[in-house]
């Protein structure tokens, strides 16, 4: 891909938290680009500041130093970002369909125009027929799927995902990975995905960025050159496992 396709570039990003015991450096200079329609994963040990990084990109936290440059001709970071959190964070008092439509209300778009899209998205995440249920009638996996539909409703260019399947059991997680692959290939979004599961990162991504422990620095970047569409059997191939081992070693070294 050419230089023009870069959607988001992060340059020398640094984050320092001020705590009672002094300063805590969460992110120490991280630099990388995310290209249009690329699936990029960030892996790193627990507490390495991956979530902080994502929150800065989403505008939920202030950065201390560095730059986040977006191509404004391609997208508007105020309106074209979708965020999938670790928890589903559905509003209990809203039916599934109204939860999906929440971003539309907040962005003050015409809700009527998006009802059909919401129904399509619910069908895409496998929740057709559940639109009039309340969140507490759904299982954990279903709730997280609603939150994915919600992140897609306003047709954002960039989807930020913060360990979205971290709270799910292994089997559901596997299923959700396959679903996410399908959704991503259908919707052609750019995804920045945070996880600490190396296999998950390799399986999903075009590129895996490895961060060190706090203060996090980029210690590796792997282009995952595996054919798409990827199925579950990919995980048993030597190519897949080589990537997993390479990433693992990079994490081990430091």
């Amino acid at each position: 891909m050419s230089e023009k396709d870069v959607l988001l570039s992060i340059k020398d990003l640094r984050k320092v938290y001020k705590t009672r015991d002094g300063e805590l450096e969460a992110i120490g200079k991280v630099t990388f680009d995310v290209k249009d329609q690329e699936f990029v994963s960030i892996v790193g040990p627990s507490g390495c500041g991956k979530s902080t990084l994502l929150r800065i990109v989403a505008g939920l936290l202030e950065k201390t130093e560095g730059e986040i440059i977006v191509d404004k001709t391609k997208f508007n970071p105020d309106k074209e970002v979708g965020f999938v959190f670790q928890k589903a964070l559905l509003l209990d008092w809203r039916k599934v369909i109204d939860n999906v439509l929440l971003p539309i209300e907040i962005l003050k778009l015409d809700k009527r125009k998006y009802v059909d899209r919401a129904m399509e998205l619910l069908e895409m995440v496998g929740l057709k027929g559940f639109e009039n249920r309340y969140p507490n009638e759904l299982s954990g996996g279903m709730q997280q799927r609603v939150s994915i539909a919600r992140a897609l409703i306003h047709d954002p260019k960039l989807i930020l995902m913060d360990e979205p399947f971290g709270a799910l059991d292994a089997i559901t997680r596997e299923k959700m990975n396959l679903e996410l692959m399908r959704i991503w290939s259908e919707s052609k979004k750019t995804v920045l995905f945070i996880t600490h599961e190396i296999a998950e990162a390799v399986f999903l991504s075009d590129r895996v960025i490895v961060l060190s422990a706090r203060p996090s620095r980029q210690v590796g970047s792997f282009d995952i050159d595996l054919p798409r569409p990827r199925g579950i059997d990919l995980k048993t191939t030597p190519e897949f496992n080589k990537y997993v081992i390479d990433v693992y070693k990079t994490l081990e070294v430091q």
Partner: protein, 281 residues
């Protein structure tokens, strides 16, 4: 393993049997009514067995008959007295509920206002409410307005404290959810904070029911010419216990009725709290 399983089967069978037993099922269904009837029956029977002096403690039946049969004394006109208390109670409760929620919202909205107003609230709340009554009587005189104000003073503070706790109870992650979309303060409030606080608001309304009745009655006991509190104060002079107990029963019914109304409103406005069958993936 098998044995345990059988044991469990037996246990569930027994539960099922218990539930299908018509007598048990009937008692189970009307448990509240049964408890109350049992309580009043015991009271009645004990009074009769020990021949308790009516000037000291009347039987529930004489209290109730006092309530339902026309009395010669005009001071015991139940229609007028119950209506008076009911009116004060409903108005006091409604005013407290509306103002309580409104003021909580204002205080949550502006932290500066909260810092300024809270000490004044605490000052008033720490003062025994009843002690304000004589001053209110000088200012306003006895009657409807004074009693409503007393009910308000008695229940307003708990109402505000609870509602504010509810409005503050929002999960930070939920706020992030709307903040990343650049939601305005008003949107955050209407779409997240307020619905989140509903359960708290209802629980404070429930507390408010009994406190409002108490406030109104205290006012009537102190100075009034009608109402259930007046009936009690008046009957006390003649050691006439049946109207006193009748009044107490009616007061309880009023507060209870309002409580039920709040519960019904709660169920209607928060349907999501009452659906609980989980679906599987």
């Amino acid at each position: 393993m098998e044995e345990i399983k059988e044991g469990r089967l037996m246990a569930t069978k027994k539960i099922k049997e218990a539930k299908t037993n018509p007598v048990v099922a009937f008692i189970d269904k009307y448990q509240t009514a049964f408890s109350l009837i049992l309580f009043f029956l015991t009271w009645e029977v004990l009074c009769r067995i020990f021949k308790v002096n009516e000037a000291f403690l009347c039987t529930p039946s004489s209290a109730l008959s006092h309530l339902f049969f026309k009395q010669p004394d005009a001071a015991y006109h139940w229609g007028i007295n119950i209506t008076a208390t009911l009116k004060e109670f409903v108005l006091g409760f409604t005013i407290t509920a509306i103002l309580g929620v409104f003021i909580s919202v204002c205080l949550i909205w502006s932290k500066t206002l909260q810092k300024m107003v809270m000490p004044i609230f605490v000052f008033f709340q720490s003062m025994p409410n009843i002690a304000i009554i004589p001053i209110l009587l000088i200012w306003i005189g006895y009657g409807l307005k004074t009693n409503i104000i007393i009910a308000f003073i008695a229940s307003f503070f708990p109402m505000v404290v609870n509602t504010m706790a509810g409005l503050n109870s929002v999960d930070d992650d939920l706020l992030d959810l709307v903040r990343y979309l650049n939601a305005s303060k008003l949107q955050v409030f209407l779409k997240v904070r307020l619905p989140m606080a509903l359960p708290y608001i209802y629980s404070s309304l429930k507390i408010c029911t009994s406190l409002s009745v108490m406030g109104v009655i205290v006012g009537e006991l102190y100075a009034s010419d009608k109402g259930l509190g007046y009936v009690i104060a008046n009957a006390q002079k003649y050691m006439d216990t049946p109207p006193m107990f009748a009044s107490l029963i009616v007061m309880s019914m009023l507060a209870w009725g309002m409580y039920l109304l709040v519960t019904i409103l709660e169920r209607v406005t928060m349907p999501w709290r009452y659906v609980k069958q989980k679906s599987e993936d």
